[in-house]
Point group: D2
């Protein structure tokens, strides 16, 4: 029996709640889950959400969750700036944690989080759920088998359009206090895929730009935008492979695109998160007259798709990826092998992001470590 | 508080369990759900599944579920042949029912089910979940608004390949006792979309064929296949629109395809269930030099996508459609307007299937009613 | 040296002129071509076009072309109603002919054309150029090799939108005198592909419909439309394979679609003329975890693509198909094996179209022969 | 009457011959073209090709073509290293020239070619035919109209797989004497599109890599590869727009891909040369519930598609782009406005390529000028 605590009930909080609710029904192979205690900014809202999400209790103070002896693991889904304090407190209280990414605005805080995790000996897992899709997991298998030979180049793009409207007023994401912009806002996602499929980034050369120099503010004037919606990065991996990472949160028409192109000595693989129930494979072992990209639909043969649906081509959803992650987390807590990004590799991702920002600042290649 | 009973815990049984488990967390606007009682073929299996699916009780006799006073609504997910007895018993016991499609192998049995539903005054809902996707629901809205003008032609295809392997041995679906073949096995799905988008079918002209004349049996011999994996049907709708319905369960490469093409006087719409998080729209109001099919990704603006994810292009899964259906069912039970196919329209779909089979038999156009 | 005559210099006349102009440069392996004599409706226009198209001579009377002793082969590209007289005269004058499809409005006339061809012993070839694309030719090879096993089902669609606008006034194609509508207007194209890939059609069951009941005429009133823009046909081939042929010339958004789906016991093949430089292949010999449709781009390995471009994926155009056809015609004239639809099979295609029309009229299955 | 000379009859030579042969038939609005004189490496081969390509004469010495008084314009399609001598000689002989790209291996030679062109006052045009496709030309129009607002970011990729096979032996393109590798081998193509759509590149930051360190040589040993098949470049345009240019000639599965992504303040545009008869447009002026990328097929409304085919969606071929270029060249010769890349902008493209190579060498941002 796993006792669950939840801090924050917004988009990701609800997402965690759904995952905790469904995980045993979907997988069957994990122990019972009890939804014990959630926290929101007020006791009233907490109670309402506890009711909606079927938690036993709701409190207006997140410390109540962390101190609850029935809670074994705490989902932390609050804004990034609150992660360090909550995560460290939970770890020190002997709880496992499942924390949304990125770890923290400042690198030193993220380091402190990792240190706390190491001291506690508890699972400290980050919510990089894109690595959990059956397609991405199968691509990892194919790479391991050498189906496309030795990988020699990599291109990754991540694009959305939630910052694309020049008429939208200045908000906190346009202020330098929020971070660099697209880099920390979502380049961490494609970096989690790079990590899952290839390993660590060794060095980076980054350019950034602002589509819109300023934006309207409430008083009728305009304020300069301080963050960068676009980042384009040349990368070298530890294993010597070269590549590019291009991100843009002002890309009209793109909604949840994470496009990956992997080139090897015997073939290539394409993937796009907007259609994450499929991927494309080109192999030179096909007869030359019939070589072409195969569009492969996720199916029960691509684990753990089969735990959701026994028929191919029917499609998992975004929330299902979180349910897979939740099951990996439970396995991790139970001491079994698990496919996750924990604080050590999460910190490495953030180190990479900061190196990119420094590269842009200094207009030169920067080594990540 | 809705008390839930569940009969059958296979693919669709699990699917119902997941929907009942998640519906309140996802939607927030439905009352609490209590998973009361499930039934399986043995008490032992029932207990195991009750544990996995978080039901209070499990019984080896489905009548125990129906007689349980804490049960308000019964999910019936057993093989089709058991639907009539169970559904009628449940309705007579004063339960609402959520029954998987099709209703029954024989039309008379389906009629008896409808009669029982009418007598009971309870909700009697069928599991046609494909009508629930945000894309299909938005297409219905667009048709209602006349965005593509007056519809004048319709093409629907449904194809999978689970019967495509000629080396697979003879099984019960190849015997005439199982029904007609692709027609009742899955033509009911595209017919649910036709119903949801356009209304009833008036007349049909059907052809059927067998890709493989016979199949291996256990004793080493071969047995003639008695059902038809392929059906191609010319249709006229009640509203005068002509169209075609083509189904094939031996279509290598197709996994969960339900391809819809809708032609109107001012545009057209395309949809494919294999990529049900998107649809395509062509409208003549675009400037001639830029007319083309728009690929529109499901997004929060397409209700109720927003209840699952607040960002566009992230994708729902097959099971999410069942959760939407579950919420509609609860609304129906609560006496609110709901988007569902109940026994009356379900019977109409089965009447249409039987008319198709008769048309093939008699090699002529047949009126459905 | 082949001496070329051309009757008609509209769309298809220009298309023939371009093919005759380019064929030797492209293929190298055909003898010299001399553009001798073309005819238009007036001597003046004929001269202008002879100048533009680099023909030696232009006449206002088509008989001058047929009687020209330097002309060996005559391209006939006039409206269908003129084909019989011109083709028969040319054949009787000892010329080979390259005649645009369909042969003639009335079946008896087409029969007379075939009889004339047989009497003359000359090549009498129809302009079914879609069978010439490298993709279609390679698909024929794959079918012959049994790459997708034994074919068991076939779906063909042809859709364009040139008749889709309800505001367009009544024109000659809406009058019964022009024929049946979509059936003879363009169903002959997909039938040429059926012929090239599978052979003859044995029996048909056809439905037709009119998207728009009437259209505006010049005097301000409206006139009933007499032809059918939509035809949907169930078909059985001579080889026992079942299929469907669906055509629609009022299909908003479709521009030059000829979509083919071929299902076999070991795989399937997809093709769409709107992207005729590619096709899709699914084979069960691929490992189950990587089975999917391969998108194969036309390449030099798909003959005779290499005669146009030595690099893959660069793309042939519609007019190039005509150039390939022209080279096949020259080979035919030279007595070599050639891939063409001549009058005998052309007549068979028209027999099939008339059978479809009769089936619709009589609401029953009709045998083509 | 334009008298045409041709030097070289390989792939591009044949391509020029086909363009010169067809241009008047296709366009009608250009004067007569006479194929006067071609040159090959031997008199014998030259005569054979003159026969095949319908030229009046063939010579074994290219100077004979340049000195032929009937020749007005010379197509130069020999390997790059011969361009400077031939181009300068032809210009000095008072001929217009149509020279394949890139101009020359060394920048100083390219400069000399431009100087010769300026002295002569003749047309000196480069064969950048990708800018001629109806889709690209229409995209330029849309950008000019501001349909996607102010462009703020650009991504261009060019990928083929002709160098992807690690088993292929060392050839001249692997030697440093051939140039940098992918950069000069084909990055010039996407740069021609950047030039046509946006203008000049201001500064670059380039990374290059080698998929295969060495390759087999004839004596059984292996030789280190000296050129780079992969180049990834961060770019800033003169107009301030940022972007990336990524090229890879070892990209298994890619055949003729030139993928362009253009992001603006009101929409975005996508294009891929592998399907150059279409492009995609996203605009925010569409209703939010129906915003999506439109796939727009090339049609007669996209000039000069109509000169080839009067129906939409039927598709031009690669060689047709050369015919369009040829017509622009004739217009240029006739003193009319023409859409071409001449030596001045061609030199700019090569300056950009050399700046990229220097950036890679020096690991820093380099200004092009």
């Amino acid at each position: 029996m796993v006792g669950v605590g939840l801090i924050g009930t917004g988009f990701m909080g609800k997402c965690h709640a759904m995952a905790w609710t469904s995980v045993r029904t979907v997988f069957g192979d994990v122990g019972p889950v009890r939804l014990v205690h959630l926290a929101e900014t007020s006791a009233e809202l907490a109670k309402q959400r506890a009711d909606e999400f079927s938690f036993d209790k709701g409190s207006g103070d997140w410390r109540a969750v962390i101190e609850d002896p029935s809670v074994d693991v705490v989902s932390i889904t609050t804004p990034n700036q609150f992660h360090p304090e909550m995560a460290i407190a939970a770890l020190e209280a002997g709880k496992h944690i499942w924390c949304e990414k990125p770890m923290a605005p400042a690198f030193a805080e993220a380091e402190a989080m990792l240190a706390a995790a190491r001291r506690s000996g508890k699972a400290a897992v980050l919510g990089y759920n894109y690595i959990q899709s059956p397609a991405i997991r199968h691509i990892a298998t194919l790479l391991g088998e050498g189906v496309i030979g030795k990988v020699n180049h990599l291109r990754v793009e991540m694009d959305e359009d939630f910052m694309a409207d020049p008429e939208a007023p200045f908000n906190w994401k346009h202020a330098a206090t929020s971070g660099y912009g697209a880099l920390d806002d979502f380049a961490v996602h494609p970096l989690s895929l790079v990590k899952a499929l290839f390993g660590r980034v060794a060095s980076v050369m980054c350019d950034m730009s602002r589509p819109y120099a300023d934006r309207a503010v409430a008083d009728g004037g305009r304020r300069p935008v301080e963050t960068h919606d676009i980042a384009s990065v040349l990368i070298h991996l530890d294993n010597g492979v070269s590549g590019t990472l291009l991100v843009n949160r002002s890309a009209w028409g793109r909604k949840g695109r994470i496009a990956v192109q992997i080139f090897g000595s015997k073939g290539s693989i394409l993937f796009d998160q907007e259609r994450f129930n499929e991927f494309q494979l080109y192999v030179t072992s096909d007869r030359p007259t019939e070589q072409g990209y195969r569009t492969i639909l996720a199916a029960p043969v691509h684990k753990p798709y089969d735990r959701f649906i026994p028929a191919p081509g029917h499609g998992l959803g975004f929330n299902d990826l979180k349910t897979i992650e939740c099951r990996e987390l439970i396995r991790r807590i139970e001491g079994k092998p698990a496919n996750l990004i924990e604080f050590d590799e999460g910190l490495e991702i953030e180190r990479t992001v900061h190196a990119m920002a420094r590269s842009f600042e200094e207009k030169r290649w920067v080594n990540v470590r």
